[in-house]
């Protein structure tokens, strides 16, 4: 009965998703594929950003952490909320104000030069493929659990279904299906918490407070200060402006919508983390204390609603995984067409659209192939975070704010940040005690300052700046 209900729930969910994807329409121009014609309203952009970041780590992972270390991880997760609010206040409006800009790499190209755009594009495509492999792996695990297929077959099914609507519908289909998936998990997960608190928590608020305080104290005792600093850095910077978020900032209807959607998504993340952590805290008095971190949510739901619970949880998991995966496939494909191919070849709109579609399929294929090599969801995500922040953030954020950013500074920052991150993440992981993201970010900022100084006052000025100077001289 349990198995039949799970299969029916997943099939019904997939059918509903297919209906929504079909209604989202096929993209017929590249501007529609990459920016959804810059016509997306606040609710859809907000829902899409939230759906893109609420993956397995921010749902199953946070419930497990709440079970083990109480509200310690809520404090760490607040860094993520702060990051989103800061991006909304300081970066998204500047990004959205740029004209003819399809990607973050495009913005870097406008502010520095073409070489920086290509470098940023290659890193964006690589990062989106890596993140997609992590999500494909998670999706494969869930589907194998339901149907009993081999893991590779489950990965292929999840990636193929997600890639099909992303390939044809582009960003609009990605955002619309994200909104559907957001609706599913943002209604179902809080209902699980309310059911647990109202009907299964013996002792009510007093038990909740006692368990929360005991778990948080245990978490603080077992986590060193340097670990907390590393985690806060990863949450604050790791996902900042990764390609799917940058694309949503660029596709917003207005500058104000772009700003407010990030601020709302930041506030939502703080509330979401609180609900997930609370589920973990409530689980302490319902399920056995030795339960494995990644199985806390599943065991809790099975204890509260045994028959329907499994099916319900599978639908929620499919939502969080597919919404993250489609955003990454679409963002990687746009970055490939716009930042890697377009700087070399002059493309017609139709050709750019076809390249974007082919790139979606190619990234999906590479992600499916690489999914089996992913060590674990959290480890996979941390590797991507460690490379993205040092490689791109200093150049992107300073570029958006500085009056005269110099291309040499951008190139040095991107190259040094990437090299140091790769060295400490893969080649010499035990050489330092702090996470790779911290030395890599420091090196990237130093390289930027060095490049800015070496480039001099006018020799390294960006083409746009030189053009502006020439125009002013002509006047």
């Amino acid at each position: 009965m349990d198995k039949v209900l799970s299969v029916v729930a997943v099939v019904a969910y997939t059918a509903m998703l297919a209906f929504v994807a079909v209604r989202a329409r096929v993209a017929r121009e590249f501007v529609e594929f990459s920016l959804a014609r810059r016509a997306l309203p606040l609710a859809l952009i907000f829902g899409s950003i939230a759906a893109a970041y609420v993956g397995p780590g921010f749902s199953i992972g946070f419930v497990g952490r709440g079970f083990q270390s109480g509200f310690l991880f809520w404090g760490i997760g607040l860094a993520y909320a702060v990051q989103n609010i800061l991006v909304g206040l300081l970066v998204a409006p500047r990004l959205r104000s740029l004209k003819d800009c399809h990607t973050l790499g495009d913005a870097i190209g406008q502010k520095y030069d073409r070489k920086c755009q290509i470098l940023a594009g290659i890193i964006s495509v690589g990062l989106c493929t890596g993140f997609s492999a992590v999500m494909a792996n998670a999706g494969g695990v869930v589907l194998s659990d339901i149907f009993g297929f081999p893991n590779w077959a489950s990965v292929v099914i999840v990636v193929a279904v997600t890639a099909s609507y992303t390939t044809f519908g582009g960003l609009r289909a990605s955002v619309i299906t994200d909104a559907f998936q957001f609706t599913v998990f943002s209604i179902l997960m809080p209902i699980v918490l309310l059911l647990a608190i109202l009907f299964h928590l013996n002792g009510g608020a007093a038990t909740f407070a006692r368990e929360a305080s005991a778990a948080t104290a245990a978490g603080l005792n077992s986590t060193s200060t340097i670990e907390i600093v590393g985690l806060v850095a990863a949450f604050l910077l790791g996902e900042t402006l990764i390609p799917p978020y940058a694309n949503r900032a660029l596709a917003s209807k207005t500058v104000r919508v772009s700003q407010n959607s990030f601020i709302l998504a930041g506030i939502f993340s703080a509330v979401w983390f609180m609900v997930m952590i609370s589920l973990g805290v409530v689980a302490r008095s319902i399920i056995p204390s030795g339960t494995d971190e990644d199985h806390v949510l599943l065991n809790l739901v099975d204890s509260i609603i045994p028959v329907e619970g499994h099916a319900l949880l599978l639908v929620v998991l499919m939502s969080v995984i597919m919404s993250s995966l489609n955003s990454l496939l679409n963002a990687g494909a746009i970055a490939f067409a716009e930042d890697v191919v377009k700087p070399y070849v002059k493309l017609t709109d139709r050709t750019a659209l076809n390249i974007g579609r082919c790139a979606t399929i190619a990234i999906a294929a590479v992600a499916a192939a690489g999914a089996t090599a992913v060590p674990s969801i959290i480890k996979g995500l941390l590797i991507c975070y460690a490379i993205w922040a040092p490689a791109i953030l200093p150049a992107a954020i300073i570029g958006l704010w500085a009056k005269h950013p110099r291309p040499l500074a951008g190139i040095l920052s991107i190259c040094v940040g990437t090299l140091v991150a790769v060295t400490f993440q893969f080649i010499l992981p035990s050489a330092i005690k702090v996470p790779a993201i911290i030395p890599a970010l420091g090196s990237s900022i130093l390289a930027y300052i060095l490049g800015h100084w070496l480039a001099g006052e006018s020799g390294g000025a960006s083409p746009t700046l030189r053009l502006n100077m020439e125009c002013e001289g002509w006047k």
């Binding site: 929504v20 209604r23 989202a24 329409r25 309203p41 609710a43 859809l44 907000f46 829902g47 939230a50 619309i176 909104a179 559907f180 957001f182 609706t183 943002s186 209604i187 997960m189 809080p190 209902i191 918490l193 309310l194 608190i197 009510g204 608020a205 909740f208 407070a209 939502f268 509330v271 979401w272 609180m274 609900v275 609370s278």
Partner: protein, 39 residues
């Protein structure tokens, strides 16, 4: 615990808000295409 319950309810409200925007987004093109046909 009141804050936690309020948080859970506010997430449900945001889910409903996005659902309404979603329904509008996927129904508007059809209405427009019908209007265009009439014209």
């Amino acid at each position: 615990m009141i804050a936690v319950i309020a948080g859970a309810l506010s997430i449900i409200v945001s889910g409903v808000w996005v659902a309404i925007a979603l329904v509008r987004a996927i129904s508007v093109p059809r209405v427009r295409s019908i209007q265009n046909k009439d014209v």
